[in-house]
């Protein structure tokens, strides 16, 4: 019985982790290529959540269809912000891009608040549940899980089988070397940033498939912290590391919640979030370059 | 007593041995050139003396003290000064403030007030001929002026040993001669040992240093007086690629 419960728990953690991991891939891509830390990461996830909400309630689109829509919107936003701000800050001191991405996040939150208001919203996508024996999953979560894996695979194919993707990898390895080999680094920067943001916004859709409530302009903050824990877990510059980091994080978060719920006198949800923060500090202390060295 | 002694210092990066059991002695007030092509281990050697790298084997002894594991900021007050090949000014601070930083955290740092450091900065700025730029932000200087400021800042530290990293690369030959004379004078007057790092045995080195150490693939090839080093067949082979014609 206990083993069943544990396995069920593990499965839930993995499913959640895959989505978390996919949500972080954009962050690692942007840092890997441009060496820019997107502190406004969570805000873009929030945008994806609102795209899903709007597509569902206004256009009647099921969330699955919203994924490519969100990706395209994200890419558009990525290009806009790259050319208007980020491009000029690549040579500037780190502080500049940190503050700029942070401010972009704030801007997005305020614009969304202006358009949609700050109340908590949600949507109700009626789907059947699937019984996996050890645990029960709503199909939406399963779709989110599968969706994350598919996107991760697509990304893998992109980086390894296409010229453009290989060019991006070369810039991650050695920017100057890539430039000397004829890679159009400016093009790589712009597209990597756009794809990274696209991935992040798309991940917002997947996350709402997991939690279709609590959608509000300020929901991104919690995800930013989690994303950074996952990103440093997997090695800040590696999207694949981010994915696996996400899996690990999902397992830990789910497991710790169950554990905390067993301790009397504490609030498990809050403690789980505190745990994320502690994890971040510990990883940064021991191995800032990432515990899982996946390339 | 020797000022700086490297004992069998080795530094590896992964599989690459950048510096291979190099032993070296520099005496007080001596002027030595470290010469070698790119990849010979010069920069790594510099960084080992400086504290930016810690050797995998061997020891670094400065003024009788084992500084092998000391971080750079602890070596500076002991008397190890350094200039960089590409100058690294504190761009938004004035030239005067930049040079004063040298005084504040160098060998005499503990005894000087901020005002005294600024006065000392003025002296070295004058020595380098930069008075006109004293109140300008360091970032606005021309590359050559920045080099001069680097040297002034390092001198303000009142070092016992000055590590000069390709300080004269890219300078006009006339300026090089002036610079060489200036450094010789300061070195003699203030008893500063100078270790100049250059890629080739050039005009600059010949005029400035009494002794040359040639590095080749991480090891010491030659360590002798300048004239002999220039004529050493091993050195010629390293630079020309084949033994000298008989």
């Amino acid at each position: 019985m206990v083993l069943e419960q544990l396995t069920g728990n593990l499965l839930q953690g993995l499913v959640l982790g895959a989505v978390y991991g996919m949500a972080t891939m954009g962050l690692s891509l942007i840092f890997g290529v441009l060496k820019v830390v997107n502190v406004g990461h969570g805000a873009f996830i929030m945008v994806g959540a609102f795209v899903t909400l709007w597509a569902f309630t206004t256009l009647g689109m099921p969330p699955l269809v919203a994924i490519p829509l969100a990706f395209l919107i994200g890419m558009g936003l990525g290009f806009v912000f790259y050319y208007s701000a980020i491009k000029r800050l690549i040579k500037a001191p780190e502080l500049a891009s940190l503050l700029a991405t942070f401010s972009i996040g704030i801007l997005l939150e305020e614009i969304v608040k202006l358009i949609f208001g700050s109340e908590f919203r949600g949507y109700n996508w009626v789907v059947p549940k699937i019984d996996l024996g050890v645990t029960v999953l709503p199909m939406s979560k399963l779709y989110a899980f599968i969706g994350s894996i598919i996107i991760a695979l697509l990304l893998y194919l992109w980086f390894n089988k296409t010229r453009a993707g290989t060019a991006m990898r070369s810039v991650v390895e050695d920017t100057e070397g890539a430039r000397v080999c004829g890679v159009n680094v400016g093009w790589v920067y712009a597209n990597s940033f756009a794809i990274g943001i696209g991935l992040t916004v798309a991940s917002g859709v997947l996350l709402t498939m997991f939690i279709p409530v609590g959608i509000n302009p300020y929901m991104g903050g919690g995800y930013t912290l989690k994303a950074f824990v996952i990103a440093v877990l997997g090695g800040l510059s590696s999207p694949y590391g981010a994915f696996f980091g996400g899996l690990v994080f999902g397992l830990i978060e789910n497991g710790s919640y169950t554990l905390f719920a067993l301790i009397p006198g504490v609030e498990p949800f809050a403690l789980t979030r505190f745990l994320s923060f502690v994890m971040l500090l510990i990883i940064l202390l021991i191995r800032p370059t990432g515990l899982l060295k996946a390339k | 007593m020797s000022l700086l002694r490297l004992e069998n210092v080795t530094k590896r990066f992964g599989g690459l041995v950048a510096v291979d059991r190099v032993s070296l002695t520099i005496n007080e007030g001596e002027r030595v050139g470290i010469v070698g092509p790119n990849g010979s281990g010069k920069t790594t050697l510099f960084n080992l003396i400086n504290g930016v790298y810690i050797p995998d084997e061997g020891r670094v002894i400065f003024n009788g003290q084992d500084i092998t594991r000391l971080p750079p900021y602890k070596r500076a007050p002991l008397g190890v000064g350094r200039t960089f090949q590409i100058p690294r000014p504190f761009a938004s601070a004035t030239v005067r403030e930049n040079v004063a930083v040298g005084a504040m955290f160098g060998t005499m740092g503990g005894q000087l007030s901020v005002d005294q450091c600024l006065d000392m900065a003025d002296r070295y700025i004058k020595l380098m001929g930069l008075e006109a730029h004293s109140e300008k932000p360091a970032g606005s200087l021309t590359p050559v002026e920045k080099k001069l400021m680097e040297i002034a800042r390092a001198l303000a530290m009142k070092p016992r040993l000055l590590l000069m990293d390709e300080a004269m690369a890219g300078m006009h030959p006339k300026d090089i001669d002036k610079m060489v004379q200036l450094i010789k004078d300061v070195s003699d007057k203030e008893n500063i040992a100078v270790v100049a790092m250059v890629e080739h045995i050039m005009r600059a080195v010949v005029g400035l240093v009494e002794r040359v150490v040639v590095l080749h693939q991480g090891s010491k090839l030659v360590d002798s007086a300048t004239k002999e080093a220039l004529e050493d067949p091993k050195v010629v082979e390293v630079y020309l690629g084949h033994p000298p014609e008989e």
Binding site: A85, V229, R273, F277 | V101
Partner: protein
């Protein structure tokens, strides 16, 4: 002696501004609250500037220090009231705890985070305010998510009348004092080796190390000092004004955002910058609240992005440039 007084002459414009604000507040009816609000933003900006402006490192979790400072005051009042200790000494003790708590927190966070370089440090701080808030709520420390309500304790400690004048007048006076102190400390840093070391490490951390600067020591100094002032600002403007502490409110990232705006707008690393930034931001927020409430971040976010991209030195940075060589130069720092 002459050299000494000239060194600290930049303090004069700052002090003048604060005195002016105080006099306008007291003299013009109905302006006290506005002036107090302006002082809050100036103080916040100055406190934040000591770290962000002088080291070039950004602490995204900054508000945590305001939060723990507030708790320090609240806990002092509550616990001493329970023991029957009363009088203004309680407030003084509360201020001391409002200094102690941020010191401890900044030492703990700094020990881990300040060994990290720029971007990694910023990442490490992203979760500080959240992390601490969820620790308090999760482990039910200091009453957890229910917070502390200490109105009756405050009345007991000072008496109803005094408590009331504290929250409407004296707490704001404290803010003036804190703002002035922060300016003095900033100028002191600038005029001593501390400032030189901070400038050096901000411009080029590796070169600074080679020049003999123990960068970690100076980063910690700036970090703790900045945190302490944040704690005092929190204690004065939150605990002493509204006698309750509620975790989601005192760890609200909003204040970090405002601090960043104020420092960047005014000119990071300058003395007058945060003061000017605080005035502009405070006044804008006030007037916007009349016509377009809640819009200030929407307006300032793109402004900040433009500043970062095009005018990174901020208003006072540009003024300093223009003023070089003029007789006013020694007052503008």
């Amino acid at each position: 002696m002459r050299k000494q007084s000239a060194k600290y002459s930049p303090f004069i414009p700052v002090l003048t501004i604060y005195v002016l604000i105080f006099l306008i507040g007291k003299g013009v009816s109905g302006m006290w609250q506005v002036m107090a609000m302006l002082t809050f933003y100036c103080a916040l900006g100055q406190a934040f500037n000591i770290f962000l402006g002088m080291t070039g490192y950004v602490d995204f979790g900054y508000v945590a220090f305001m939060g723990v400072g507030t708790y320090g005051m609240a806990l002092t009042i509550t616990h001493l009231a329970e023991r029957g200790i009363t009088g203004p000494a309680v407030i003084v003790l509360g201020m001391l705890l409002a200094l102690l708590f941020p010191t401890l927190l900044s030492m703990a966070v700094g020990a881990v985070a300040l060994r990290l370089r720029g971007a990694y440090f910023a990442i490490a701080t992203i979760g500080v305010n959240e992390g601490f808030r969820y620790l308090i709520e999760g482990a039910k420390i200091w009453n957890g998510s229910e917070g502390i309500i200490f109105m009756s304790e405050l009345n007991r400690v000072l008496g109803r009348e005094a408590a009331s004048s504290l929250s409407t007048f004296w707490s704001d006076v404290f803010l003036f004092v804190i703002a002035t102190l922060a300016a003095l400390v900033t100028l002191y840093f600038m005029r001593t080796r501390i400032g030189y070391a901070l400038t050096a490490l901000r411009e080029d951390e590796d070169a600074a190390k080679v020049m003999g600067i123990n960068v970690t020591k100076y980063k910690i100094m700036a970090f703790i000092t900045s945190a302490c002032f944040a704690g005092l600002v929190g204690a004065a403007s939150w605990a002493l004004k509204t006698p309750y502490v509620f975790p989601p409110e005192v760890f609200e990232i909003h204040y970090t955002i405002e601090a960043i705006i104020i420092v960047l707008l005014g000119g990071a690393g300058t003395l007058l910058g945060p003061v000017i930034g605080g005035l502009i931001y405070g006044l804008s927020k006030y007037y916007l609240s009349i016509f377009l409430p809640g819009f200030q971040l929407l307006i300032f976010a793109p402004i900040i992005i433009i500043i970062i991209v095009a005018f990174p030195e901020g208003i006072m940075g540009m003024v300093k440039e223009k003023a070089k060589g003029s007789s006013l130069a020694r007052f503008i720092v």
